[in-house]
Every structure is written in C-alpha cells, then in structure tokens.
C-alpha cells in the first residue's frame, strides 16, 4: 500500500543543511498497524507529514497504492489525501465552536457528501462510539478521553484506508489511553491501515511492527513490511 524509497528532507540552516529525514525506505502493507518511535527531533512528525501528504518538500519516492505521490500536483495530492487518509492529533484539535456532531460532520462537508448521507453516517458513528448522548455538547464540555474519542470518530468518518495517529494517547491518562488503543485495534481488525507515532513503549509494541527513528534515520532494518 505504501512504499517510501530514499525519502530525504532537510532545511537550510546557517549556510549548511539540517537533515530531518535521511534515506527513508519504508513499506507498509494494507491492513498493517505500525508504530513509529524515537526521541524528540528524530523525525517522527516529519515522517507523518510526508505520509499524510501534507508536506511535499522532500526528495525520494513515495508510492501510495502504486500512485507516485511526488508526481502529483498540489490539487491531486490534496484529493488523494482527502479520499484515503484520516488523522488523529495528540491534542485532539476538535473545533471549539462546533458541537460534537458538527465536528464529525465537518470532514464529510469538505468531501461534498450529500446532507442526508452525512447525517446517516454521523448518527451511525455516534452510535458505534457510544457518544450519542454527547452529540450536542461542545468539546470544552468533554473530558480529554471523550475528546480523543470524538477525534478518532472524526478521523474515521470518511472511511479512510490509512489512519495516521500522532501520539493519540499522549495527553490522556492510562484508562482513557487504553480505551483509545482498544478502539484503534478494533479499527485495524476491520481492515484499516494505521500508523501511530508514540512515545509509549508498551502501546508501541501492541502494533504489528515498530519503526524506530533516530536523527532522521530508520534504526535497523525494520522498514520493510512483514
């Protein structure tokens, strides 16, 4: 599903360059659950930006379902991202001015899904995530765990093939974190490919594979699937 070959990213700095990603080669198969770990500044978020097609300023090759991402223009890249990828953020990033159901509805609006279908999908997901009772609340009226639950629901409402999670449990206490991890496993069992960035070693090991980054390089030969 995903193949990165010799992906590199750097910034010009003080007359030289600072490397963020070096010679990244990474294969992720359909339905895989991959954890990315590494110390601060190792390049985890940069890798997630590349995978999520939010960053296009890199060198190398990135194939998503055999489509060469580096050959796409901004519009095509955005269309591909909208169709295939969902995001979960460490700080939930729910829109404060929108109620729970409106937050879930937002990605569907952005994909021009008809109103009737949108409300059906939102109702379905509220039910599945057991947050029907919270649907008219604003994010500030929810606990951290509940907010992340809504954030996961928002990420999957568009039925993405790839779910990118940036420290999904980083801001949660252990019980809430466990709930979110269970949810990710459930989504993965349903066939969703998941890449999570995490600092939490036990949660990282729950994935099928752990990719370790240090100073922009992938440690060991763990870049290949299987």
């Amino acid at each position: 599903m995903i193949r990165l070959e010799n992906v590199e990213k750097s910034f010009p700095l003080a007359g030289g360059r600072t490397w963020v990603l070096r010679n990244i080669g990474l294969d992720i198969a359909e339905g895989e659950f991959v954890s990315v770990m590494g110390p601060s500044g190792a390049g985890k978020s940069s890798l997630l930006n590349v995978l999520g097609m939010m960053d296009h300023d890199w060198q190398g090759s990135y194939a998503f379902d055999d489509v060469k991402v580096e050959t796409l223009n901004a519009k095509q890249r955005q269309a591909l991202q909208r169709e295939k990828i969902g995001f979960i953020f460490q700080h939930y990033h729910l829109i404060d001015d929108l109620k729970v159901w409106e937050n879930l509805d937002l990605p569907l609006q952005y994909r021009d899904v008809p109103a009737k279908e949108r409300s059906a999908r939102v109702a379905d997901l509220l039910d599945r995530f057991q947050i029907v009772g919270k649907k008219d609340l604003f994010p500030s009226q929810l606990s951290g765990g509940q907010q992340q639950l809504v954030a996961v629901a928002r990420a999957v409402i568009t039925r993405p093939r790839l779910l990118l999670a940036d420290e999904p449990t980083g801001a949660l206490h252990s019980t809430q974190a466990r709930t979110i991890m269970d949810l990710l496993h459930e989504l993965n069992r349903d066939g969703m490919t998941i890449v999570q960035v995490t600092h939490n070693e036990p949660f990282a090991r729950e994935a099928q594979r752990v990719v370790r980054l240090a100073d922009g390089w992938i440690d060991g030969g763990s870049g290949s699937a299987g």
Partner: protein, 798 residues
C-alpha cells in the same frame, strides 16, 4: 456552508467583533451620508439633463463676480453662433399672486421662449409648453406642478382655465412635472417684446443653453472668448468694460459651486476616516486570524480546500460587514440630516427644496459597500491564509503564534491609524482656527437686531419708480410706527444676498476714463443707522435734500474709491453709471468705510448708493431693512402687519434675521469645520482603540515571554514600562508621520477652503502632544496586565 457555526464563531469573538462592527458602522455612516449628500447635490437634483444644461455668464477683467444678464442682440449672436444645440433667453419677474387662501404670495413669472423646452429637455406633464404660436403678448401660460396642485387642486381639466396674475389674465396651456422650476419659476409665459428685433442694450435676459453632445467646456470657453472679442470690436467703445468676455458652465456647477469645496472636503475627511477604520479593522481581523490559525490548519488537515477556507473567511467578514453597514446606514441618516441642515441653511435651488433623500442613494450603495468591506477585509488576511500550512496541526502545540513579520505589520497598522488620526486632528485645529479668524473679520455692518425682508410690487398698481418710492415711504412710516421697530430703510439687495444689482461705473480720470463693475443700491431711509455703516467722510444720502430734481449724488464705499481713484478722499468727484445711460454724472457726497456686504468670506465690496428719488430704474422688488429696539429683532409678523396696513396685496418673502443670514453665509465653512471636528474625534478614538487592542494582542502572543521575564526576576513595573514604551513608540512614529503629512496637505485644504486653513505650529504641536499622551493612556490596561504576568506560566507545558 452552515450558518449556525459561523454565527457561533462570531459570537465567540464578540468583543473583537463588536469593535470591528462599531468601527465599520461609524465609518460607513459618514461615508453613506457623504454619498447621499453628493448624490442629492450633484447627481440627482435636476429634472434636467445635468451634463447638457448650461448657463452663460459674462464678466469684465476687473469684475469680482460673473454676471448673468445679456442683451437681446447678444442673445441673437450667441444663438446664431452654432456653438450650442439650443439657446434660450429668459427673464424672471416676481409677481404677487393670489393664493388659494385669498392671500397674495410672491411667485416668479418667467418670460421665456419655446426653446426652453428643448434646452431643459423636459416634457410637460399636461398639455404643451410654449410654442411658436405664442408670440410676444400671448396670454398662454404654463404652470408648475406646485401651482397646479395648490391653485387648481390638481384638476386634470386645468388646460384652458384662467390664471389671474396681478391684473393680467392668462390661459393655462400646460402643466410641467414635479420639480420643474426652470429659472426658479412658477409660471412660464412668452416675452413681452420680440427678441429678434429688440435693439435695447440693457441686459435683462438670462441665457440658458443645451450643450452639443460631447461638448468640451474649456474648448467652448475658448470659442466664446473669441466671439466676445468680435462683439466688443463691433460695438461702440463705451459699450463693454475692458477685458469683457462671455463664459459658459453647467447650471449644476453654477448653483452648487459655492458648496463644492465643503462637500469635497467632506469626502476627503471621509476618506481619511475610512483609512483609519480600514487599518483598525485590518488589525483586528488579522489578530483574530492569528488566533484562529491552528484551527484553520486542522480544517486543512481534515480535508478543507484553500478555496473553502477563503470562502468561509469571506463569509465571516461579510457577516461582520453586513451588520456594520446596516448599523452604519441607520446612523448615517442622522449624519445626513445634520449635513443637509448645514448646507441648506445657505442656499439651495427650488428643485431641491425639501427633496433631500437619504434612503435612495445610500441604500443602493449599501450592498456594494458591504461587499467591498468584506473583500478588503479578506484581502488583508490573504497573505496569511495563503501561507497557512496543515502541518501546523501536527506540531503538537495549540499555541497561538505570530512571527516577527506579523508583529511588525500589526505595529505598522497601529502606527498608520495614529498617523491618519494626527492628520485629521491637525487639520481640524487648523480649520477651526482659520474659521474663527474668518468669523472674527469685521463685516463693517451691524447684523444683530436687524431683520431683512423682500417684497415685490404689482406692476399694474406700481408701474413706475415714483409709485414704488411712494409705497416705500408709506411702508417706512408704518414700520417706524410699530412699537418694536427703531428704524427702517430700503435698498436693492440685503447684505449676504446671493444676487445683487450690478452696473458699470465710469469715472473720468487724468489718465483717461476708467470703468469698473459695481454693486448698485437704491437707498431710502437711514441705511447707515439701520445697518451700522460707518461714514469715512462727507454725508450719507438725505431723502429730503437729494430729491428727483436735486443734483444727482452718490455715496461710495472705500474699496470702490481706492480701486478707481487710488484714494478714499473722493468727495465731490464725479461718476457715471452705465445703467443711467445719458443722465448727468453724480457727485460723490460721502464715502463709507469698508463693508463686507457679501459676508465674511467676501472681500470689502465696491458699492454705490444712490437716492431712490434719483433712480429711474428702481426695481419692483425692494429689500426692507428693519432695526429693532433694544437689540431685539422685529418679528416677521410685525413686518407683515405693517406691509398689510399699506397694501394687503403686497406679500413679503424671504424674511430673515441678518445675524442668521451672516451665519448661513458661512455654511460651507461651518460644514467643513464641523466635519473635521467630528472626524478628528472619531479618528482619534479609533486610533487609540486600535493601539490598545494591538498592545493587548502583542502581550497575548508574548504571554510566555513576559512570564519568563517575570520568572527570571523582572519587576512588575519594568514589565509595564516595556508595554508603555512599545505603545509610545507606535504613538510617536504615527504622530510625527501624521503631522508631516498634515503639514504637506494643509496648503491644499487651505486653497479649497476659502483660505481658512493656515498652518498653526502651536496648535498642531498641541494635537501631537495630546495624541501622544492619549496613546500613553491607552497603554495603561495592557501595561497593568503585563505587570501581573504569572511566572508559573513559564513552567507549564503546552
């Protein structure tokens, strides 16, 4: 796009949005009022084709004003010149007309030609206009819509009905539409004389023209100057004053000209206001955007397209702009009423009387202004929206941020507001000081306690000068018998009156004859006592001594004496008046001190006063000047009662207190001064508000930095001083730039405002210091907040 979240987001930032809406509302109110004023005055006043209806004037080199009267011969030359599509010669004759209530009212009968129809381009509402069949002496009359309504009750069968005007009876052949008052008239009839054969050199005709399509006025004036030279060359030497020339202009320019500088300045001030407001709004919405950027980045990451974000931003701005413009429209009505009140105090054409409409023009512009504001607001956010990056959502921090460039830009916008406020403030004090100087100018006449009124004597009862003078003498006695009246006198034109009797004065000097245009007044009664005129030398006219059979005499003003003879010692010198043809010259028996008869904005005038008894051309329209006892102005009722006692068929009109007229003669200046004062107040308030908001924002984005400074030992006072210093830097840069700009443009304003904007270093320096002080005060709240920075914040993670 869902409206509910949009409204919720607007409510969430209600404080900042309220300031944005208030700023827009204040600016839009002024802008819409200015647009509506301009629309009423320059675009929509006429029932006529504004671009093509013109009027011809003439003036000699030494004339201070253009004159409208032409002779029949001059009319024929101009008509046949081929320079115009149509030319019409008309003359107005005030008449006493018995109203529907049986009381006489003063109306204006205009004697004109059928070509008036083509010149104005207006078709009658009923019947026809004057036609070729209406030869001199015809009894056909076309009436105005107002007369049709008031006198004939709007009867559709009015055609053919009799119209009695004084002792003549006319037959109504047509009714003109509403707001048609060509030449200010109420009725239009044929001329009494045949203009094609009239050889009289007197100039009673006003010439209106219809310009050919695409006429270039400067070119036309060149052609008229050439034509004037031909006329002068072909006429006897004494006929035209040196440098005499004909000119042409649009009627709208002729009647609106005096108000134009004030209205133009209203626009300039509105634009400066708009600059301040836009800078203010741009600052506010950019601040809001910086705060909203993390959320926008999340939206991008969730799949929103950039186009969608632009549209959402535009929709939010449109919502704010629509509310601001809506409120502005409501406020603009009262601004408009005030402005119109000040303008119409001076003089307005009859077509506009009571016709000032705010709603029409302003409503049409409202959607455009709202769209324009929303577009400009969105454009000001464009650079940051364009650079918005979805990666921001993954950076793990939800901290509101702004780079050095943004901070510099926001400081710059605040300084720009202070600059504009300093410009308007400095100009406001200069205009106020200049206006005070003009108001304090010595008029050379008394206005307090004096009233003036006008009357028109019916031709049939008062056919000649002697009959009119007898009426005036009886009215003078009747007025003096009233308990509240101290004295009364008669002249041709009251002080501050727009149109006055003009003639050419000729004096024989050692170096040859000298001619000049002067204002002529037929005098009866103690004019100097009533008007408080000072006599420099000699005596004033004496009604008993300077009778019809006595030696012709005149009293002249000092300005005239100086201009003709180069001295004010001119007693016993002789002068001739062109209006008196071959009459013997007049001996000067007195010289009046300088008098600004036209008001404080006018120069001391060249005036000649002659005894009524010695004026064969005494007009049927007289001006009565009445001084009250103990400084009290006689009321209109008192004057009307006295006039009715002499002849109840003679209506009085235009009864005013001279003090009011003096104030109204400065209407343009008063309007400009008031506009600058209001705009300066608003601009300074907006600039201070903007500075306070910017400082609060700068503090908010550097909250952590201040906490850190506090944590490493900065005293609260030191933190506060830092904020105050930043505010003062913005204030100082803005103020200095503003004063420099104001100094640069003051000359331009001065040139357009009757010389009422002399640069005042002290006053403008005071404005600068005041603005700086006010800026310092605006920093107090943010400074207090900075002083209370919590060092614990520096230790907390995001």
């Amino acid at each position: 796009m869902n409206a509910m979240p949009l409204l919720r987001a607007a409510w969430k930032h209600r404080a900042a949005n309220a300031v944005t809406v208030a700023t827009l509302a204040a600016t839009v109110a002024v802008l819409l009022a200015a647009i509506a004023v301009a629309h009423n005055f320059f675009v929509s006043p006429w029932t006529y084709d504004t671009a093509r209806l013109g009027v011809l004037t003439h003036r000699a080199a030494a004339d201070t004003r253009s004159l409208y009267g032409f002779s029949a011969e001059e009319f024929r030359t101009l008509r046949d010149s081929g320079l115009f599509e149509q030319v019409v010669a008309s003359r107005g004759r005030p008449v006493a007309f018995d109203g529907a209530d049986g009381y006489p009212t003063r109306m204006l009968m205009v004697q004109t030609l059928p070509s008036a129809h083509a010149v104005t381009g207006v078709a009658p509402a009923l019947g026809r206009f004057l036609g070729e069949e209406d030869r001199p002496g015809s009894t056909s009359a076309v009436i105005s819509h107002a007369v049709w309504q008031s006198h004939f009750g709007g009867d559709p069968a009015v055609l053919g009905r009799a119209l009695r005007v004084e002792d003549a009876v006319y037959s109504v052949v047509g009714v003109m539409p509403d707001r048609f008052h060509f030449m200010g008239g109420d009725f239009w009839t044929a001329h009494a004389r045949e203009l094609d054969t009239d050889q009289d050199a007197a100039r009673p005709y006003v010439l209106n023209v219809r310009f050919k399509p695409g006429t270039d006025l400067p070119q036309l004036r060149g052609a008229l100057a050439t034509l004037s030279q031909r006329l002068v060359a072909a006429a006897p030497a004494s006929r035209y004053l040196p440098g005499w020339s004909i000119s042409g202009e649009r009627v709208i320019d002729a009647v609106m000209g005096p108000m134009r500088p004030a209205v133009a300045l209203l626009f300039v001030a509105s634009l400066l206001m708009l600059l301040v407001a836009l800078a203010n709004v741009a600052t506010l919405i950019n601040i809001r955007q910086v705060a909203a950027e993390p959320q926008l980045a999340v939206r991008l990451a969730l799949g929103a397209t950039s186009r969608r974000l632009y549209l959402e931003t535009f929709a939010t701005n449109l919502l704010l702009a629509a509310v601001g413009v809506g409120l502005g429209w409501a406020l603009g009505g009262s601004v408009f009423d005030r402005v119109v009140g000040m303008i119409s105090a001076d003089w307005i054409p009859r077509e506009l009387e009571g016709r000032f409409v705010y709603a029409g023009a302003s409503l049409r512009w409202m959607p455009l202004i709202a769209l324009g504001c929303a577009t400009l607001m969105t454009l000001s956010q464009w650079p940051r929206l364009r650079r918005l990056d979805a990666q921001l959502a993954l950076r793990g921090s939800v901290r509101t941020g702004a780079g050095g460039g943004v901070l510099r830009a926001i400081r710059g916008l605040a300084a720009l507001q202070v600059t504009a406020a300093a410009v308007v403030g400095a100009l406001a004090v200069c205009v106020a000081a200049g206006t005070d100087d003009i108001r304090a100018r010595a008029l050379g006449l008394r206005v307090d306690g004096v009233a003036s009124t006008r009357l028109t004597l019916p031709q049939t009862t008062y056919p000649d000068a002697a009959a009119r003078r007898r009426f005036a003498e009886r009215l003078g006695e009747a007025l003096r018998a009233e308990p509240g009246v101290a004295d009364a006198a008669f002249v041709d034109a009251a002080p501050f009156q727009r149109y006055r009797r003009q003639t050419a004065l000729r004096a024989d000097l050692a170096g040859g004859p000298r001619e000049i245009s002067v204002g002529l007044n037929s005098s009866l009664g103690p004019v100097p006592e009533v008007l408080g005129l000072s006599l420099l030398s000699g005596r004033y006219l004496d009604d008993a001594r300077d009778g019809a059979d006595a030696q012709p005499v005149a009293v002249v003003s000092r300005a005239l004496a100086l201009q003709i003879w180069g001295t004010d010692e001119v007693l016993d010198r002789m002068l001739s008046l062109a209006s008196e043809n071959d009459a013997p010259p007049r001996r000067i028996v007195g010289v009046l001190d300088d008098v600004r008869y036209g008001g404080a904005l006018a120069e001391p005038e060249r005036l000649v006063f002659v005894p009524q008894a010695q004026d064969p051309g005494l007009s049927a329209t007289l001006v009565v000047l009445v001084r009250g006892r103990d400084g009290r102005v006689p009321t209109a009722d008192v004057l009307a009662r006295a006039a009715a006692g002499v002849d109840p068929r003679v209506p009085l009109f235009d009864t005013v207190r001279l003090a009011d007229r003096a104030q109204e003669s400065l209407a343009g200046l008063n309007l400009a001064e008031a506009s600058f004062r209001v705009f300066a107040t608003l601009a300074i308030a907006l600039a201070l508000m903007g500075t306070a908001v910017v400082l609060s924002f700068l503090l908010a984005v550097r909250r952590r930095e201040y906490a850190l400074r506090s944590a490493v030992g900065a005293a609260p006072s030191r933190l506060a001083r830092r904020v105050v210093g930043e505010g003062l830097a913005i204030g100082a840069v803005g103020t200095l730039a503003g004063l420099a700009v104001a100094w640069g443009v003051a000359g331009l304003v001065d040139a357009n405002l009757y010389g009422a904007t002399p640069w005042r270093w002290l006053a403008t320096g005071g404005v600068g210091a005041g603005l700086l002080l006010a800026t310092a005060l605006a920093t107090l709240t943010p400074a207090r907040r900075a002083a209370a920075s919590d060092p614990m914040l520096a230790l907390r993670a995001d």
